[in-house]
């Protein structure tokens, strides 16, 4: 497979992906981010850090995660062969833990004994609580009070793991407000606290660091696809909320120009309805949560409330690297509605015996649309970023079933 002439080397030293990214924070956090940049750079050049990260991924997370050829699904849609990268098989049930392990190791190197996190559906909160237990750190998770109500099981999981869950009552009481509150905690307790951001957003170096930790997904694919299918895929598909699972699988493929990268956003009730979370498809560049990126905002620059059936995609921004990949044309971004995602969820359950997360179901739904337009010798690789156990209630409710 052909490689690009000039290797991709984003971001620049100050965290810019073209016009996106950067460090848009209040002055109080500037020294903390400077310290994080310095320590993270040391981690990157420290073979012992790398070895420990890999050891943990192998023995604690259960990596490498397999790639699975979804033959019945491929036959059903009639066209390209669909392969699934099984991040749902990781410890804690999603890709989130890869990043949490990495950041917890950085936190430990910095001597921080307290970690905080924001969470929407609770997956990143659970992953953070998990690694905090694993490394003996105090853990506080901020979660919008609306989400606390909707995700009672995950709240209990976090508590079982020893974390304190703080319901956030401000704003829309969802993920973005949890992120605001976590930032406030960090500003206040910056001396002893490490903020484990769950996605490829936030001020530099977070988008880069989270990408680096998640890129293990794509690196494994680079090795596994030739073993399994004899070559690299024609398409790589992943759902995009903040965009960490997508960046994780895209990044190692960026320098392979023949591999098309497609991010799938949550179109909710349809882009035209205004009730969606498709920042790249329907938003405009702006500044939020420490970086410049595409945002869903009104004409006065206020951030608007988003909607998706999947809480993990329900975010008004997106990682700055995706903004850059979109503008540069290296990746393309499409939308999948709640109804389409739900159908894909049921299809995968019945055809392959795999219950996918509603987030990942968005990527599967686009594969279902794309596959029939391609010949049977084409290959689509879908990042199955998480398992759907957490979504039982949502799906059952849509089907009119109560437990």
């Amino acid at each position: 497979m052909q490689m690009a002439d000039i290797p991709y080397n984003m971001p620049d030293p100050r965290g810019h992906f073209g016009p996106y990214g950067g460090i848009f924070v209040s002055e109080t956090l500037i020294p903390a981010l400077e310290e994080l940049r310095t320590v993270y750079a040391e981690c990157l050049s420290d073979p012992a850090f790398k070895a420990e990260f890999e050891y943990e991924l192998k023995h604690y997370v259960g990596r490498p995660s397999p790639i699975y050829h979804a033959r019945r699904m491929s036959d059903e849609f009639g066209g390209a062969q669909i392969y699934l990268k099984r991040e749902d098989l990781n410890h804690t049930g999603a890709h989130k833990v890869n990043n949490c392990i990495g950041q917890a190791l950085v936190a430990r190197k910095m001597g921080k004994r307290r970690v905080i996190a924001e969470t929407g559906a609770g997956q990143h909160g659970v992953a953070t609580a998990t690694v905090a237990a694993r490394y003996g750190m105090e853990c506080v998770v901020y979660m919008g009070s609306e989400d606390v109500k909707r995700q009672a099981a995950n709240v209990y999981r976090m508590k079982l793991l020893g974390a304190t869950v703080v319901p956030v009552e401000s704003g829309s009481r969802t993920l973005k407000d949890a992120l605001n509150e976590a930032m406030r905690d960090w500003v206040t307790n910056v001396g002893d606290t490490f903020y484990i951001i769950g996605t490829v957003a936030g001020p530099h170096p977070y988008p880069m660091m989270v990408r680096d930790f998640q890129a293990v997904i794509g690196r494994e694919c680079l090795q596994q696809m030739p073993e399994l299918a004899g070559r690299q895929p024609d398409y790589v598909l992943a759902c995009v909320g903040g965009g960490s699972n997508a960046i994780g699988i895209f990044h190692p493929y960026v320098d392979f120009p023949d591999v098309r990268l497609v991010g799938v956003e949550a179109a909710g009730d349809g882009i035209e309805s205004g009730r969606h979370a498709a920042s790249l498809s329907a938003g405009r560049p702006g500044v939020l949560h420490g970086n410049r990126t595409y945002l869903l905002q009104d004409e006065d620059g206020q951030i608007i409330e988003t909607h998706s059936i999947s809480a993990g995609l329900d975010y008004p921004g997106v990682g700055p690297e995706h903004a850059w990949l979109k503008d540069s044309g290296r990746a393309e971004y499409v939308g999948i509605t709640d109804a389409e995602a739900l159908k894909a969820f049921h299809d995968l359950c019945r055809l392959e015996g795999i219950i996918p997360a509603l987030e990942s179901s968005h990527a599967l739904a686009y594969a279902a649309k794309l596959a029939p337009t391609l010949s049977t010798d084409r290959i689509i690789l879908v990042n199955l970023s998480g398992r759907g156990d957490k979504d039982m209630h949502t799906v059952a409710e849509k089907s009119g079933i109560q437990f």
Partner: protein, 253 residues
Amino acid sequence: MIPFITAGDPDAATTLPLMRALVAGGSDIIELGVPFSDPMADGPTIQRASERALAGGMSLRKVLGIVTEFRKEDAVTPIVLMGYANPIEAMGLERFVDSAVQAGVDGVLVVDYPPEECETFAATSKAAGLDPIFLLAPTSEDERIRDVGAAGRGYIYYVSLKGVTGSVALDFEEVSARIPKIRAAVGMPVGVGFGIRDAESARRIAAVADAVVIGSRIIEEIEQAGAAEAPARVQAFISGVREALDAERENVQ
């Protein structure tokens, strides 16, 4: 003394009377908050003020309209807008700077614009006669203090504690030790804010700083008073702080 209120809190009609009350109470500069949906650097009090203002339809454009009205009756009291980057970028940097100058705004403090991320904005503002005001924090080191000093104009806003607006723990000794050094390094007046809650804490800060910034405490007065009573309550509170500051000044002299 530099009081802070959020434009549009508790409603758009009360902002102008509140600004008059701030002047009547003895304010030197007014910081007028531009409400934003996601005020990350602010505590719950100012966030509530933002939410009330946005619920009433306040916007950056309307804030500039309020300043234009204020200027018809008060050509002297400096006005500094304080807010977040996104509403400004949504309006467009140049259009914002032009409109702000035309409205009679004197300075602008964008909380999430550290100097390195707003070189164009700072240069455009300065050229148009709008002072870019920057923050310094207890965590800022010497080199940073010099860089921020070089980027800003007007005054430096020293955030007196690690935390968000309206927090309580204020370390007077830390502030007293830092301010003279910062003033020498930046060559500008230094205002101190975050955590100043009453005449006594204002007086102690004023003993070392060029100005004290009071925000959350005023918002609390507005919350408790309601729209009709807010201007009178705020004026009474501000007058009390003013007296304490004047007494401190005489004391020093």
